[in-house]
Assembly symmetry: C2
């Protein structure tokens, strides 16, 4: 008869959950097409498919992140032009990559307010983000959200093993924990498999590699927007601060 209480620890994904990221990749991919357009017989959908195939092939060696993506763009450019890419195109690709790394971090609407309101209700807040260590640290710093988190974890992959290690390391049980993120594959499914809760906040675009088919599993809730989170958490039971007031 244990009542469903809101989870004590709320962990957030970064890219496309707290700040925009996939739009930056899409914008870069547009530029990549524009660079190649003049020497290319391939149509644009085929070019996108070739780039995705190269990225996927390279994931095992490069891991996630912008630098690996730039290397994959260079490789794809050379391949699809049968080696006729001029050096000026390669230079252009390097500079769109650099622009991605230096691009301002644009927060998802309401991200700061949601974090602040959950802190005010005594939730412990974590950030669990995947990708390139240097780039993620830089984005976290530029986001201005760093002081709102009790714990920040940058990991190379977000699978069940990763989440289990993090919970074990910090002595958190699955029923105390909820993850909030935009991808089913990395933020929702592995967390539900551990018996914890997950909030799925879909982003306008999902990277093809992260896309999974199927229904939302039991224990996961879908939100139309991040700003719904505080109300949905409260609806799970008495809010933590109310419980504090009424011992």
């Amino acid at each position: 008869m244990s009542p469903v209480l809101p989870p004590r620890v709320i962990a957030f994904d970064g890219d496309d959950t707290l700040w925009h990221n996939e739009t930056l990749f899409s914008m870069t991919q547009e530029r990549f097409r524009a660079i190649l357009r003049s020497h290319l017989s391939l149509d644009l959908a085929d070019l996108d498919a070739r780039l995705l195939a190269t990225e996927r092939k390279n994931l095992a060696v490069y891991g996630y992140g912008i630098k690996g993506f730039v290397l994959s763009m260079v490789e794809t450019a050379i391949e699809v032009t049968d080696g006729r890419t001029p050096a000026s195109d390669i230079t252009a690709i390097l500079s769109v990559g650099r622009a991605m790394l230096e691009h301002p971090v644009e927060l998802i609407e309401g991200a700061r307010e949601v974090l602040e309101s959950l802190r005010a209700r005594d939730h412990e807040l974590w950030l669990i983000t995947k990708g390139d260590l240097f780039d993620q640290e830089s984005k976290i710093a530029r986001s201005g959200l760093e002081p709102l988190f009790d714990r920040i974890e940058i990991v190379s992959e977000k699978d069940e093993g990763t989440y289990r290690r993090l919970l074990d390391r910090h002595g958190i049980s699955a029923d105390e924990f909820a993850m909030v993120g935009n991808t089913l594959r990395s933020d929702v499914l592995p967390v539900i498999n551990l018996g914890a809760r997950a909030f799925h906040v879909p982003y306008q675009i999902t990277w093809a590699h992260e896309h999974v088919e199927g229904d939302l599993p039991d224990g996961a809730l879908v939100l139309d927007a991040l700003t719904e989170l505080p109300v949905r958490l409260q609806a799970m039971g008495l809010s933590r601060s109310v419980r504090h007031d009424q011992p």
Copy 2:
């Protein structure tokens, strides 16, 4: 009158302290020269200097690691040839980069035995390594040394702030802590500045960026080889296991 005791926590650098790394960069740089040799009027020392300058310029955007190094090689190749690099040379650079990422991890002589002997003496062992998260995790796994460490930290920079955060987070005081590594800049000086101890084990080559001039600071000891570490630690006082036996 407190006697000098051996530090309880011994932290190791990874690259060029436990496994060879700089030799791999040197080997790759050799290949880079060979790729460019045919279209280059520059002499090789100038080429090395241009590459280093590009790497340094890019550190603030790319951080440390092989992927950033590969991007810097591509950029340098295009620059030093005034844009005349053929795409086949860029492909060759990408493939030497990939070879670096897939290169077997070769341990420094005696690395495993040193770690095992310190564990047997109840030291807590940490690995604190800098660079690309994905590549470092892969190297740690391939090194076979992972099970010997109580704690593994992959960081983007090894400065005083980083070491202070790690010690604070795990409740370790400076006099309980010693760092073992090959670079004065990242492994020795920041640690000594915190009041902890450091063992400098120079490697046969130091990356120019990590090179610092000057004497070894007080509190740092230099070792000719990693294998000297157990004896030097013991010489600091009674070994921990002896202290355990004689309460």
